[in-house]
């Protein structure tokens, strides 16, 4: 049993988007979608503020926050959304009706629908290695299948700036626990009460 979480060190994010590519290749998320913004499990969004020459630009990485009190979980009518023993919020594709309540409920915009056309495209690009075989709601899983093999989530494993730090929040010696316990890393939108396990250093 672990309590997995991630720290996003925004000051270290170089804006290269290796995480998005890594996630998409591993999890076969719909990079083919016509709405290029819509269907990613993780995103890096550039934010610019100030006036020339006093401009500040940051690259803001987001994923599913794997909340301890996830609104997506409480609205799911079939119980498809569940929390596994390691605190990872997951979806049982067999139980998922695709109703989309969870998409609306998630305050962090972490979910999207894996539609019928996406299944066709998944097979077009990945052939017999296609991993999606039914319509379902999709989101970040912390690459739970990689964790089983002892690998880090795709995005954190390749993060060039080491801006994504993954680990067990219950292990006081882990880098994530240290950053969180020291108060250096803080969750987004704490007031909403979802208790996210993804923390940010700004």
């Amino acid at each position: 049993m672990a309590r997995y979480g991630m720290v996003m060190d925004v000051s270290s994010c170089l804006g290269c988007r290796a995480c998005m590519a890594a996630c998409s290749q591993w999890n076969q998320t719909p990079f083919w979608a016509e709405d290029f913004e819509g269907k990613w499990r993780t995103r890096v969004t550039p934010l610019e503020e100030g006036k020339f020459p006093n401009v500040r630009k940051v690259f803001f990485p987001t994923i599913c926050m794997h909340c301890e009190n996830p609104p997506c979980h409480s609205v799911c009518p079939t119980g498809a959304t569940y929390i596994n023993k390691d605190g990872i919020v997951l979806i049982d594709y067999d139980l998922c009706l695709g109703c989309g309540y969870c998409i609306e409920a998630c305050p962090y915009d972490a979910r999207y629908e894996y539609e019928k056309e996406d299944l066709e495209k998944d097979e077009f690009y990945f052939g017999e290695d296609a991993r999606h075989h039914q319509v379902h709601i999709d989101k970040c899983t912390f690459c739970v299948d990689r964790l089983e093999e002892g690998l880090e989530p795709s995005c954190a494993a390749t993060c060039v700036g080491h801006a994504r730090i993954f680990g067990d929040l219950d292990d006081p010696n882990s880098e994530v626990a240290k950053l969180v316990n020291s108060g250096k890393a803080k969750p987004l939108g704490e007031y909403m009460g979802a208790k996210p396990k993804v923390y940010y250093i700004k």
């Binding site: 290269c16 890594a22 990079f31 020339f52 494993a157 390749t158």
Partner: protein, 902 residues
């Protein structure tokens, strides 16, 4: 997450190591592969955790590699242009390799194409990964005509100034800056080298930042790198030179330089005289025909108050002698009857009027930005200057980069922790060369020329250039030089312009050679057959129209293109050959790119055969045989060259190459078997053991940088690869150019301010008004030109922020002035060349008011490219084909543009 009841595809998961092929960083990767009997299919690429180059990480391009392998647009079979169709129309029929070989053989015979009438455009894959194959191929057909495309287009102009100073010229011409250990870093210009992205640099950059490194970025636009800077200085495009001169002046004025280092290990104390307006060291080898090695140079000894001799080629001016070479000569010193000063005196004179106020006016920035930069670099140790890639190029780029390199030298940033650290390849090469030089084996000029051509870095570059490519005396090429030499003669006669001295593997003169304008020894020198391997001249060599004219010229009897994807260039081919992707290739043993640790690595394929594709190496043998006709390609000459370059045993090489050229063994396998046998001997293991270790680990780290610096610190223990062996403030090579090509400020041996004009009458103080702007371009992290174009996953990533990728960046104030809103369509006109492109405007605060900026990675036109076609701006249609004075690289930003709403 798999659907629970879904059956996984058959097979087991294995990892195969490989070397990423998407940019010159060449990261170490491991490919997770599903293996089912003989069937292999890659699933995911990760950085190799054993690698100290990219530290287990890779970028978006690296992560998307599999999407290039299975790209639906891939060229999977050889194609021959349908008879009666025109080049550029894309009418091809499927063919076999046998047919293609026969077709080429027939054309060569029909038009009696001679070896020197053939030219290879050795693009990214040939240049970065298959260099040995490319050299072997040229030797086997006896042609001197290589266009090493990423060199001239990508790096030559930018790195020549630094190369001349520290002698580098290896992997992407750069050394891996030790950012982990530096406290201050000045980044000049382009983003591409850091977060644009080169992972081996970016991992160090991020680590350095975490370690507290302060970063100053000079760039007219807010790049990814600039966004991470502690200080962003958006200087006017084209003004790096005055900025750097002013920094240099403050460092000298405040004595923030490392005096002992300069006295001992650099050419700064060399005594120099004024030779008709240009500085020249006493002792400089003035023979334009010989390489600029000299017997001795002279310094002023502060202990004895006398001029003393120092060795011509050494790392140390002092050695065991009790002398103190002066950095500043006493006033009124004369030597050999001439007024004498030190090179350092000349350097000071070059910058002494470059006050922060003067530079600030030209750069259009506050003077205090310059003062703060100089103070940080000068007073906090360790510090260094970082040179970018794909920066805007103006005719002063070589002098500007020389200024940057000199600052780095002055603050002690050479081969030390926190500074520029040489690659192990350079150290090994210099050890070999230095030993041979010391032993007197090279007294014979021919031996020296040969040894220099094989030496590392700048020495090797110059040796190859002047000995093999330009001399017209190299026996392997039957007395013909590279066509560019014939072109420079033509230019001198017709236009009175000098040659372009530092232009190895250039395309300069290719168009004229095709047009039949060139001669050599009174005979016509025409190119009739072009082989274009993994490069896209139509876009990346600038001047789109002139290249279309060249490739459709009937004088060009045969155009063969080797590609993975239907590039713009491929459309103009007579024959298209389908290349393998890196995931399908084996390789020979390769050094670990720009890694400052010593390491070796190898490629292992992770994909089952797709279509009927062949790797570029195999194609070299097929082409060689087809060109040579009945007698077959001359693999013996190829073996000779390769054994010289690598130090491999000649007998082993020729035995293996015989097999390769007879089609018994692919060339990559031949090279691999030779390398395994040669390297394993050195490591005290068998070939099999070494291969197994490489397959398991992907990369073997043989020595860490600390150990290498201790054993072979350059210039502390060994000479650096310059002609004086020292770090050169005074460049012996540029002084040599003064003798060989005439005196020219662009290759001033010390430093010269070049007050160029953006356009006629618009000098460095020019302020565009109305709808006129300066022009800058750069690179997006998700793309590397042709190599990643059309990758569907990367395409999706760049489409997410397409405004900044496909449009022209413009400051909101300028946009308001022109009445432009985000996304408005515009026409952009080059005020110098008259070229026009259509695009749209992207409004952002991250750009100067007087400048527009565009990404250079896009603009492909071939409709066969499903994802990339028609997206973004083709710079080849906005930037003219115009050769720079020192390296023949395009002066890619020396103009202004006018913007009109359409």
């Amino acid at each position: 997450l798999y659907t629970p009841h879904y059956e996984k595809p058959k097979g087991e998961i294995k990892y195969y190591p490989n070397i990423c092929s998407f940019c010159s960083t060449a990261c170490d990767i491991k490919v997770r592969t599903r293996v089912d009997g003989k069937f292999k299919k890659p699933q995911k690429i990760d950085g190799n955790p054993n690698s100290t180059l990219n530290r287990g990480r890779i970028c978006a391009r690296g992560q998307s590699g599999i999407r290039t392998v299975y790209n639906p647009d891939r060229i999977k079979y050889p194609l021959i242009r349908v008879e009666g169709s025109k080049r550029g129309e894309w009418k091809f029929r499927k063919a076999t390799w046998k047919e293609v070989e026969e077709y080429i053989r027939k054309k060569v015979q029909e038009h009696n194409i001679q070896p020197h009438e053939f030219a290879i455009f050795a693009g990214q894959r040939a240049c970065a990964y298959e260099r040995l194959g490319a050299f072997a191929f040229l030797a086997s057909i006896g042609s001197p005509n290589m266009i090493g495309s990423p060199m001239q287009q990508c790096v030559m102009a930018e790195h020549a100034g630094a190369n001349a100073t520290v002698g580098t010229m290896t992997s992407h011409d750069e050394i891996l800056v030790d950012m982990d250990n530096t406290k201050v870093m000045l980044v000049v210009g382009s983003n591409a080298a850091l977060t644009g992205i080169s992972v081996s640099r970016a991992v160090r950059f991020a680590q350095g930042k975490r370690n507290g490194m302060k970063v100053i970025v000079v760039d007219p636009r807010m790049s990814e790198t600039a966004s991470k800077a502690d200080k962003w200085i958006p200087a006017k495009p084209g003004t790096n030179m005055p900025f750097l001169m002013a920094v240099l002046r403050l460092i000298i004025k405040n004595e923030w330089y490392e005096e002992e280092f300069l006295r001992r290990h650099t050419t700064a104390p060399f005594l120099v005289f004024d030779n008709n307006g240009t500085p020249e060291a006493f002792g400089q080898n003035a023979n334009p025909e010989a390489l600029p090695f000299a017997e001795k140079y002279y310094v002023y000894d502060e202990f004895s108050g006398e001029v003393v001799e120092v060795e011509g080629f050494t790392n140390d001016n002092i050695g065991n002698k009790k002398i103190k070479p002066a950095l500043f000569a006493p006033k009124g010193l004369t030597f050999q009857g001439k007024p004498a000063k030190t090179a350092f005196d000349y350097l000071w004179e070059a910058v002494k009027d470059a006050t922060p106020e003067w530079a600030a006016k030209l750069c259009d920035i506050p003077a205090k930005d310059i003062e703060e930069t100089a103070e940080m670099l000068g007073t906090i140790k360790p510090a260094n200057v970082y040179l970018g890639w794909m920066d805007g190029r103006y005719e002063d780029v070589v002098q500007a980069r020389k200024a940057a390199a000199i600052i780095n030298v002055l603050i002690g940033g050479v081969d030390r922790l926190g500074g520029w650290i040489y690659t192990p390849e350079l150290r090994e090469g210099m050890e070999r060369f230095h030993k041979a030089y010391e032993s007197g084996q090279l007294k014979n000029p021919m031996n020296l020329l040969m040894a220099t051509a094989m030496a590392p870095g700048l020495l090797g570059m110059t040796g190859k250039l002047e000995g093999m490519m330009y001399s017209g005396k190299f026996p392997m090429f039957r007395g013909y030089p590279h066509f560019s030499r014939a072109y420079f003669d033509y230019r001198a006669k017709k236009e009175g312009k000098k040659g372009i001295p530092f232009s190895l593997f250039t395309n300069a003169g290719f168009q004229e050679a095709v047009e039949g304008k060139l001669t050599w020894n009174g005979k016509p020198y025409q190119i009739k057959f072009a082989y274009i391997y993994s490069t896209n001249p139509l876009k990346d060599y600038y001047g789109y129209k002139s290249w279309v004219k060249t490739f459709t010229n009937p004088n060009l009897k045969l155009v063969v293109v080797d590609e993975i994807l239907p590039s713009d260039m491929a459309a103009f081919a007579d024959v298209i050959l389908p290349d393998k992707t890196y995931l399908e290739k084996y390789s020979s043993i390769m050094p670990d790119g720009p890694n400052s640790d010593m390491a070796i690595r190898m490629r292992f394929p992770s994909v089952s055969q797709i279509g009927d594709v062949k790797g570029g190496d195999e194609v070299f043998c097929i082409l060689s045989n087809a060109i040579a006709g009945k007698r077959g390609g001359d693999y013996f000459s190829a073996s000779m060259i390769i054994s010289q370059f690598t130090g491999w045993d000649m007998k082993t090489v020729s035995k293996e190459y015989a097999l390769a050229w007879r089609g018994k063994k692919p060339l990559y396998k031949a090279n691999r078997d030779i390398a395994l046998s040669e390297v394993s001997k050195k490591l005290g293991m068998t070939s099999k053991q070494l291969e197994k270790a490489l397959e398991e680990k992907g990369v073997l780290i043989l020595k860490k940088k600390e150990e290498l610096m201790e054993e072979a610190g350059m210039p502390y223990k060994l000479p650096v690869p310059t002609f004086s062996g020292r770090v050169e403030i005074y460049s012996t090579l540029f002084a040599h150019f003064n003798h060989a090509y005439g005196v020219d400020p662009h290759w001033d041996p010390i430093l010269k301010f070049i007050p160029f004009e953006y356009k006629k009458g618009a000098g460095l103080d020019y302020k565009p008004t109305g709808n006129e702007f300066f022009f800058a371009f750069g690179k997006v992290p998700e793309m590397t030109y042709l190599t990643t174009a059309d990758n569907p996953l990367l395409h999706a990533l760049v489409e997410r922020h397409k405004e900044e990728n496909y449009g022209f960046w413009m400051n909101p104030k300028s946009a308001a002035r022109l009445g432009l809103k985000e996304g408005d369509k515009i026409e952009v006109e080059n005020t110098v060349s008259g070229q026009k492109v259509k695009s749209f405007v992207h409004i952002t605060e991250g750009i100067r008011e007087d400048t527009v900026y565009v990404m250079s990675d896009f603009g492909f036109q071939n409709k066969k490219l499903t994802y990339a076609s028609g997206k973004g701006v083709d710079l080849g249609r906005l930037i003219p084909y115009r050769l720079g004075p020192v390296t023949a690289s395009a002066m890619s930003c020396q103009f202004t543009v006018k913007i009109r709403k359409i």
